[in-house]
Symmetry: C2
Subunit: 353 residues, 2 copies
């Protein structure tokens, strides 16, 4: 074991503060990574404040962060995919059982015995739970380490590891979106990636937002049309016309308003998880054979595919780079949706702690 | 125009009573049918009592019935598919616009300008609205008339025209169900057809019911397993294992209990439309990339395919045959789910009126 600098929260109400954490020595299949940037996902905030207590109670201290980009500093003796100096990424997962049907199909994100990047029981017993990317380094099994294209801005790559794959995966699974009418509900960290991907896939992209102020920016990101969702007339004029809608809203909202916009066999996929159940009109689903589904990140192979796609098409997240000392302030701004569109922590700032 | 005997309701609270209604003369594309049996669908009851007022207000008098089996008594000069004496069926639709994208794809059930078999504006102006199958005869455009296999019990064929196609269509659309684990929620008119089809398709069939008394019958109909849905332990033991679930419940119920039974990419399809919105847990959809969808009857071509399939595999609905004079009593029993599993009106009983 060695000690690494990190930022952790000691309780659900404590601010994040500088600390040191144990990291395991690099075993034969491990890759040790110097973390350069770590995106701030809303999950970080939920976990730090123990807001998902009923599903996944937070073990303190918690070191959040699962949008990690860095450089390989050491590799284990059996590592074949990476060498020292490589640019790499780590997303929401750092281990799985490798034997279940989902793992065998490359869908580690659905493995019942997966190890999340933070706040997950640590199989290596380095600590009670895994510690995430708000740290100067991390050690991860090579299977869960991704190659990062060298032509991209690294601060903007970090959010691809969660927000990127979360939006890329369900759109790819839908099929060929070229020429299809695609809606993206919400223009935050997830939504802005959804717009970029939908645009890259050749879809006709319509953004739904509650904020008239985001209209111009939505167009800049790639939207062909922007609809203010509170405008009932505007919503009605699009009834029954969408092939696919990506719903990124994690707060309670009227899902039927969007289901009714779907055409025949149209699909709306949730990638945010509102806490309260959604009130779904069965009738709206029946009349167009529409479906409502969910999607959660992606498997390791698909995450690599997404990163390669981003390299080829020059896609990164729009980020605001912050030093780690401003993480609490960033959380407060996140709650007000006051970020365009993801915070990316410059981990060099940790060196001064 | 000619007069035909029928049973109609004069208001939302009136009993059904004998009457005569106008039917149009057979135009060149029409088929005139002597009705032999008409199934009683729950929609009949909803419409008679104006319970769908907000979506489709009932125009009185109403002659319900859209599970029609009969014999051709006359054909128009341009009719090519049928001749006098043929056994035929008519389901929920008697016309559509033939020009919309759905009609062009053979999905007349999704045509925005469709004409329902009863309580729908009558394009021919024979009456303010169309009159359904509780009648001695009906005149229908040949496109909406189905061939009925000659080897089947006609009383049991009638419900295939609605309950049959409603359950057949979403299961066929799922794909090849051979060897797949399929759940059928509710064992009524729709559910019992779902069980028969799932069995015929080679699926492992599990029935969910609230009634322990239906267990034996479910097995007789083709279920491999019967789960009493109130038994939480039994439900839990099947978590994450189903490929497809057909939900036939039109009353409010806990949909998440069934969503949680779906495996990866599992689908649950609603064919009943509970009046109140369903409370859907987004999290349950996300974790297995599951989907909730709806389906509504089927197109004309698919309905013919279903009837042909039933002929080949000797599938009919289990019916209780009643004279039309007992229709009000049947409605009362329907409300108590006291029928195994569909009422089929023997229209010969109308001759004595």
């Amino acid at each position: 074991m060695y000690k690494a600098k990190a930022y952790s929260a000691a309780s659900a109400t404590a601010p994040l503060a500088s600390t040191t954490i144990p990291r395991r020595e690099t075993t034969e299949h491990d890759v040790q990574i110097e973390i350069l940037f770590c995106g701030i996902c809303h999950s970080d905030l939920h976990s730090v404040r123990d807001e998902w207590h009923s599903i996944m109670p937070t073990v303190y201290p918690i070191v959040p962060g699962h949008e990690i980009v860095g450089r390989v500093t050491r590799v284990g003796s059996a590592v074949t995919k990476f060498k020292t100096g490589d640019l790499v990424g780590v997303g929401c997962l750092v281990d799985s059982d490798h034997t279940c049907p989902n793992c065998k199909d490359g869908l580690e994100q659905l493995c019942p015995n997966q190890t999340l990047t933070f706040n997950s029981p640590d199989k290596h017993n380095t600590a009670p739970v895994t510690y995430g990317g708000y740290s100067e380094s991390i050690v991860v099994d090579e299977h869960f380490v991704l190659r990062v294209p060298t032509n991209l801005d690294l601060a903007g790559v970090a959010p691809l590891l969660c927000a990127g794959i979360t939006t890329y995966s369900p759109m790819r699974r839908w099929g060929n979106l070229t020429g299809k009418k695609v809606g993206v509900v919400g223009l935050g960290g997830l939504g802005h990636m959804g717009v970029k991907f939908a645009r890259a896939f050749g879809a006709q992209v319509v953004v739904f937002t509650t904020s008239p102020g985001k209209k111009e920016d939505a167009h800049r990101l790639g939207a062909d049309e922007v609809i203010i969702s509170s405008n009932a007339d505007e919503m009605r004029s699009h009834a029954g016309t969408f092939d696919f809608i990506l719903d990124t809203i994690a707060a309670d909202h009227d899902i039927n308003a969007y289901i009714n916009l779907l055409g025949r066999d149209g699909k709306i996929t949730l990638v945010g998880a509102p806490e309260k159940p959604l009130a779904v009109s069965a009738f709206s689903l029946l009349v167009g054979r529409r479906s409502l589904s969910g999607s959660i990140i992606g498997g390791i192979a698909e995450t690599q595919e997404m990163l390669d796609y981003c390299g080829k098409h020059n896609i990164t997240a729009d980020v605001e780079i912050i030093p780690i000392q401003k993480v609490d302030e960033a959380y407060e701004r996140l709650l007000k949706s006051d970020v365009k569109y993801r915070f990316s922590i410059d981990m060099a700032s940790l060196k001064s702690e």
